[in-house]
C-alpha cells in the first residue's frame, strides 16, 4: 500500500483509505490477469463442454447445489440445446476476455453464465476454486482491465490513429482481489484451527495418499515421512493468518507471495491439485506494481540489443488505416455477436449429432450389463468390522518424536538408548487394547507392554531403554491386538556405539 507523504500534516485515516482504494495506476496486473484467468478456468471448463447434456441440462442428471440446502427450483435448468448454447457462449466469452475483445461485455456475460453453471453441478463443478474464479471474473468486469494489451485497445488505436498515453485508473478492483485472496486464506486458516487432526498431520497424510485428484507422486513419497506433516501444517496456518496483514509492500509482499507460490506448487505436487494453484498464481498478479513492470521492461530492453531502427512510439500520431471506420464499437459488436451466434448454433448441432445416450445408434439403444451373482453377493455383503490389519496404518521403530510422531526409522540400537515403537491407527476404530511386545527372533516373549487406545487415538507409542542384561543380538518388536500378532519389526541390539553411562543390569528397563 503506497500512501501520500505529506511533510506538513500526517495523512488522516480517511485519506489513507481513500488513497488505498482510489489511487490511480496503470492496470498492468489486472490486464495480465484478464489474459490468463480464462485459460485457468477453461482447464476444467473446456472438458465439460462435451458433457453439458449430462451435467447442466434437464435432459441429464444435474446435481443442483441448492438441493443440499433444502431448496428446490432455485434456478431454472434448461433443456440440453439451451444449456449447450449457454455453455458455448460462456467458453466464447472467456476466450474473448482473454484477448480483450468486447472486454466489458464479455466479462459480464462470462461472470453471469459461470455463476449460473457452477451451482447446477455441486459434485463435479461447484468447488471453492470455481467460486473464487467467479469472484475474480466479477471484479474484473468492474475494472478497466481491457484498456491495455487488448483487441479493444488495438481497435481504438487503429480507429483514432492515435497512440494514447498509458491510461491510469483507480486501483480499487485490484484491492478487492487482494483482499479477497487475504480473506480466503484467513478463512481457510479458521477451518484448520477447528480441525485438530490437521495439526497432527494425519489428515494431510491421508490427503497425500488420496486418489480423488490428479496424480501426486510427491505426495505418495512424502506420506512416508509423516513427521514433516505437522511442520507443514503449522507453517501453513501461520502463513495463511499473516498473509492479509503483511502482504502489502516491501519484504512482506515478496515474502508472502514467494511462500504462497511455493505453497501452491506443493499443493500441486503433493496433493494433486492443478487449477487451484494456477488460479492463485494468477490472482497474485493483483500485487504487480507499476515499478515491477518498469523494472521488467527495462531489463528486457537492456537484454535486447538495439537494432538501429526507429525508436518505439509511446504516444502520438500513428498512420491511420483506410478501413479505420470498421474498427468502431458497432462493427466490433456486430462481428462479436455474429461469431457468438455461429459458435452456439454449431455447438448445439454437433451436440445433437453426437447422440450422447446412443438413442439413435444403428444397433439400437444401449443394453445394461448384468452383474455376476458372485459379484453381487460381494457388493451386498454389508461389512461391519475391519480386519485387524486394516486398523494399523503403520508400525515403526525409531528414536525421535516430532509432534508426537516418529520422525526416524531405525533397526539398530545401543544399550541405554531410548527406543520408541509406534503404531499409527486408522480412524475410526473401537476402543482397543494394544500390545507392543519384545520378542527374540525365535518368537519367545521377553517383554509384554500393553496400553489402551481410545477410539479417538491416532497412535500408540511405547518407549523402551535397554539395559545390559539383555545380550546383544537380533530381536523384534511385535504388534498385537485382537488376539493376533499383526506385525513384527526386527532390530539389532548392542552392535552400535554404546551410549555412555548405562549401568543398569536389569534385563529390560522401561
Amino acid at each position: 500500500m503506497q500512501t501520500n507523504t505529506n511533510l506538513t500534516s500526517p495523512p488522516t485515516w480517511a485519506g489513507q483509505v481513500r488513497e488505498f482504494f482510489h489511487a490511480e495506476r496503470p492496470p498492468y496486473g489486472l490486464a495480465i490477469m484478464r489474459m490468463l484467468l480464462p485459460w485457468v478456468v477453461l482447464i476444467d471448463g473446456a472438458p465439460r463442454l462435451f458433457h453439458v447434456r449430462e451435467l447442466y441440462s434437464s435432459d441429464g442428471a444435474p446435481a443442483p447445489l441448492w438441493e443440499a440446502y433444502g431448496l428446490t427450483d432455485l434456478l431454472p435448468i434448461f433443456p440440453a440445446p439451451v444449456a449447450m448454447a449457454g455453455y458455448t457462449a460462456l467458453v466464447f466469452c472467456l476466450l474473448a476476455v482473454s484477448i480483450g475483445w468486447m472486454t466489458r461485455f464479455s466479462l459480464i456475460a462470462a461472470t453471469v453464465l459461470y455463476l449460473y453453471f457452477i451451482p447446477l453441478d455441486m459434485i463435479s463443478t461447484a468447488n471453492k476454486y470455481t467460486v473464487l474464479s467467479g469472484h475474480a471474473l466479477f471484479i474484473l468486469s468492474l475494472s478497466q482491465c481491457g484498456s491495455i494489451w487488448s483487441v479493444d485497445a488495438l481497435l481504438k488505436r487503429w480507429r483514432t490513429g492515435q497512440s494514447a498515453p498509458l491510461p491510469r485508473f483507480p486501483v480499487w478492483p485490484q484491492r478487492l482481489i487482494q483482499l479477497l485472496v487475504g480473506i480466503v486464506y484467513l478463512s481457510a486458516a479458521f477451518t484448520k484451527l477447528r480441525t485438530p487432526s490437521f495439526f497432527s498431520g494425519d489428515q494431510l497424510v491421508y490427503w497425500m495418499l488420496t486418489d480423488t485428484t490428479a496424480r501426486n507422486p510427491l505426495g505418495d513419497w512424502m506420506s512416508m515421512y509423516p513427521a514433516l506433516a505437522p511442520l507443514t501444517a503449522y507453517t501453513t496456518v501461520i502463513w495463511e493468518v499473516a498473509f492479509i496483514f503483511v502482504a502489502w509492500r516491501g519484504l512482506g509482499r515478496i515474502g508472502m507471495l514467494s511462500v504462497g507460490v511455493v505453497f501452491h506448487a506443493l499443493t500441486w505436487s503433493m496433493l494433486g491439485l492443478i487449477v487451484f494453484p494456477l488460479l492463485y498464481c494468477v490472482l497474485y498478479l493483483a500485487w504487480l506494481h507499476e515499478a515491477d513492470v518498469e523494472r521488467m521492461t527495462g531489463w528486457w530492453r537492456r537484454r535486447t540489443p538495439a537494432d538501429g531502427s526507429e525508436p518505439a512510439v509511446i504516444a502520438g500520431e500513428r498512420p491511420r488505416f483506410r478501413w479505420a471506420e470498421w474498427c468502431g464499437p458497432a462493427p466490433s459488436a456486430a462481428a462479436f455477436s455474429l461469431l457468438l451466434a455461429i459458435a452456439a448454433v454449431v455447438a448445439v448441432e454437433l451436440e445433437q449429432r453426437a447422440d450422447r445416450y446412443g438413442e439413435h445408434r444403428a444397433e439400437g439403444r444401449y443394453a445394461l450389463r448384468e452383474v455376476p451373482e458372485e459379484r453381487v453377493q460381494e457388493l451386498l455383503r454389508g461389512d461391519k468390522r475391519l480386519r485387524s490389519s486394516d486398523k494399523v496404518f503403520a508400525f515403526d521403530v525409531g528414536s525421535q518424536l516430532v509432534g508426537g510422531i516418529l520422525a526416524n526409522r531405525r533397526d539398530a540400537f545401543g544399550y541405554g538408548e531410548e527406543v520408541i515403537v509406534q503404531c499409527s491407527l486408522v480412524p475410526p476404530h473401537e476402543d482397543m487394547w494394544v500390545e507392543i511386545n519384545l520378542h527374540d527372533l525365535e518368537g519367545r516373549l521377553i517383554s509384554r507392554n500393553g496400553q489402551f487406545a481410545g477410539r479417538e487415538s491416532f497412535r500408540v507409542s511405547h518407549t523402551h531403554i535397554f539395559g545390559k542384561g539383555l545380550p546383544p543380538g537380533e530381536y523384534q518388536w511385535v504388534l498385537r491386538f485382537d488376539g493376533q500378532d499383526l506385525a513384527g519389526r526386527p532390530f539389532r541390539l548392542g552392535d552400535i556405539q554404546q551410549a555412555s553411562g548405562t549401568t543398569t543390569a536389569a534385563a529390560v528397563v522401561e
Partner: protein, 217 residues
Amino acid sequence: MKRWITNATIAAYLGALVVGLLSHAINYRSHVHPLMYLVVWDMYCGWSAFESRLHVLGETYDGRHYQLLPAPWGEFHPYQGPARRHYDVQVRFAPRMAELVLAHTEHDDIRRIIVVEEAWSKKYNLPDELWELRHPEPKDKYSYYHTRAVVSCDSDAVTRDGEWVSALSRYAMMDNPRLMSDVTRGHTFFAVDPSLKDALNPGVTQTGFNTPAPGSP
C-alpha cells in the same frame, strides 16, 4: 456521484466477504442459504483414512442385478481422477444418475436402485515400490462394501446410510453393552397400562428412559 457508487460497491463486496468470514469463524448460519457458498471459504473439510468408490446396481423383480453406473456410454471424469459419481459423497445424486441410465437403455423392469460404497484403507494407495520401502508386510489390499442407499422405483421410498467411516464409528459406539442397554431403555415406546384407562382415556402413555412410567420406582 461516481465515487459514491464505487464506494458503495466496495463496501457491499467487502461486507459480503466479511459476513462469510465471520459466519464461518463462529460457525453461525454458514450454510443457511446457497448464496453462502459464494462467501464461506471452508476448504479443507477433512480427509478420511479410507478411499471410497460408489457402485450403482439396478435390481429386477426376479432378483437379477444390472450395472447402472458407469453408464454404457461412458462417464465424465472431472478432475483427472475417478468418475463423477464417486464425488457424490452424500449419495444425493447417484440415484438420479442411475435413473438417467434407465431412461435411455434397454432393460427389464427394475425394482430398486442400490448404491454401494466400496472402501479401502488409503495406506494401500501407496505405489508398490514405495510400499516395499515402507512396510515389510505384503500389500494385501482389501475392500469393504457398505450399502449407502436403496431407492424404490415403484414408490418414493428411499433408505440411506452414512459413509463407511460414519458406519464404522457407529459400530464402534454400539460395541458397548452398557451403552446399548441405555439405548434400549431410552427409546420411546408405548406402554399399555389398563389401570390408567380411567385417568388417561386410551390407557396408553408414552414413556422412556428419562420419563418413568407413573407408579414405577
